[in-house]
Amino acid sequence: MRKAIAVLFLGFIGYYLLSTFLLVPFGVVRVLEGVGLKYLQDGLQQTGAANLVTSIVVNYRGFDTLGEVTVLFLAATGMGALLYSKRPTERARQNASVIVKTGARILFPLIIILGAYVFIHGHLTPGGGFQGGAIIASGFLLMFMSYRTYHVNHVILSRVESSAGSVFVIIGLLGLAYGSSFLANILPLGTANTLFSAGVIPLIYVAVGFKVGAELTALLDTMLQTVK
């Protein structure tokens, strides 16, 4: 009985939510009002980034991205604090077959290169620091799953994480010192659509890429460990 009421109640909320969201016209061009239009018209000129999504994420709304980077950092730290154990740990997996091992060894460097490519070209092509970092972490995950003895050095990962995070804040503070405000783009914008363009945007995305890659790798390794 209680379950039936709960389901009915959820159904009611779901229906009400859906019917409201249907009131918002879907698929109609609505960018002509609001800030969206300004981003579209002037984004390329103002930020020099060919990828408009990146220019919004890293430049116009870069403060949010700093916050999101912190959220990820917090999640990793919180996880580390909760799974902290004084006893030695080991990975709870058996060795994989020869095929997987060989495949992983060949694919691993390629995956890392792809990840690096994605975050270095974040201001030019779809992708960016978060995506590139996630790709890199997936490469490490492949290695963890194939080789039981494959270990990463958490001290190095934590150093990468800390320095990448600090680089983001330092770039912001330099904007405050040499430009008009925190996170202001103080480097020349260059020619759009070339690798060295868009000022600080690629620098921030490279830092984010390193940070996300290191964080997710450490997180995956911690979660795969069990107490001996």
């Binding site: 409201t20 949010d64 503070l173 405000s181």
Partner: protein, 490 residues
Amino acid sequence: MYLDPVLMIALPLFAAFLIPPLARISKGLVKYVPVLIIGFNLYETVMLLPHSMVKPVIVIIAAWAPPLGINLTIGPLGNVLALIISLVGFVVAVYNIRFVEEEPNEKYHMLFLLLTAGATGMVLTGDIFNLFVFLEITSISSYALTAFLRDRDGAEAAFKYLLIGSMASTFILLGIALIYATTGTLNMAQIAVRLKDVDPRIAIMALILLITGFGIEAEMFPLNGWAPDAYSQAPTPIGAAFGGIVVKAGVYALARLIYTIFSFQGIFHFILIAGIITLLIAEMSAIRQKQLKRMLAFSSIGQMGLVLIALGLATTRGVEGGLFQMFNHAMIKPLLFLSAGYLVFYSGSKNIEDMDGMGRVKPLLSFFFAFGAFAILGLPPLSGFWSKFIILSETISHGFIAVATLALFGSIIEAVYYLRVVGRLYFKAPHDGAKVQYVPKSALVAMSILALITLVTGLYPDLVMTYLKPAAAELIDKSIYIKAVLSAGL
């Protein structure tokens, strides 16, 4: 002379990123980092006060004027709340110096620093999505800190909090999505201007989603199921931080929402009713608690009920009273929690009945607890009296006699359970098992600061009220806020 206010957020984040390498150099230094950084925030908020009282300080970020970029809008309200948050954060950071010996303690200090930074960001930002991001920072650090002791109860409380908190985040995000889809902007001032052209069905849905989400953080009934467990199972300083920091940021978001952004007339009555129900249910639950910290948790919910009543009145004087109540609660509840933490530690039990005679064993600690209890009850001339008096007299003068009667009834229940504990502390013979040890000086300093503030604001309420008046005016007359933001951009 103040530095760029964005440093109040940038520096804590910077410090948090640098704590892991610092911990490898010297473990002992880490615990002073939050004291230093939050101390800087405290300095900033005090120095900003004279400026923000005259005219909201607009801080542009990434060189894009609002609404294109994100901005901090530091009006009287945001500044006062940032001051409260930094003050409580600073005191708790001092208390933390000798409290946390558990490994991995550098992570504890890092999480605590980010919790304070997140709450500061919530009250300062002028952008609704940025508010969401800072809410995430605040709540994720709260989840991790709740379970920090890694025991069964802590994990359960943290998991409960995590589930309900994620629901809150989802609701808020959906609400923001609706607002952005219909107004095309995320700047709170601009949303406030444009919302009147939006289909009311969509606006009301967005309002419901956002109120539900922030109501969870503000401990509004019936969304406060997480609070008693989280308060009582988290390490003591974190319980104090929930009452003084996290909930304050949640209530701020709620107030900003109903006054500045939406300002629908009907909503105020809803908040008023939600407030009185929250107050009564919490006080009635509190009196039935056997554990000291759980009792304090329910009492904290009750106090927030009183704040909601004040906000629901929607009059200048009422809002002033509500803000004053928030200030008092932010000073007194941490004092109660911090002293209760050591009382629990020395008596070796969480139960109220084992607190017998602690007044003789630990006179100073018990004095702090009793002082806090009297202050929160509203015993004149302590500070709790003035805020309760303003709220109740304002409720009566606007004809809500029934609400005022029920609120007074709640106060009587509150008096019963607080005095019961104080009575046990002083008028019962101590148990044999009580440990006699010295309380660390840092903890005593932390508690003395809070007690002193409570005493001074009780004797001279005008010291605080001078700053709360413009803050209340900012909520009642939303055009001040909107004009300040929009003249900075466009």
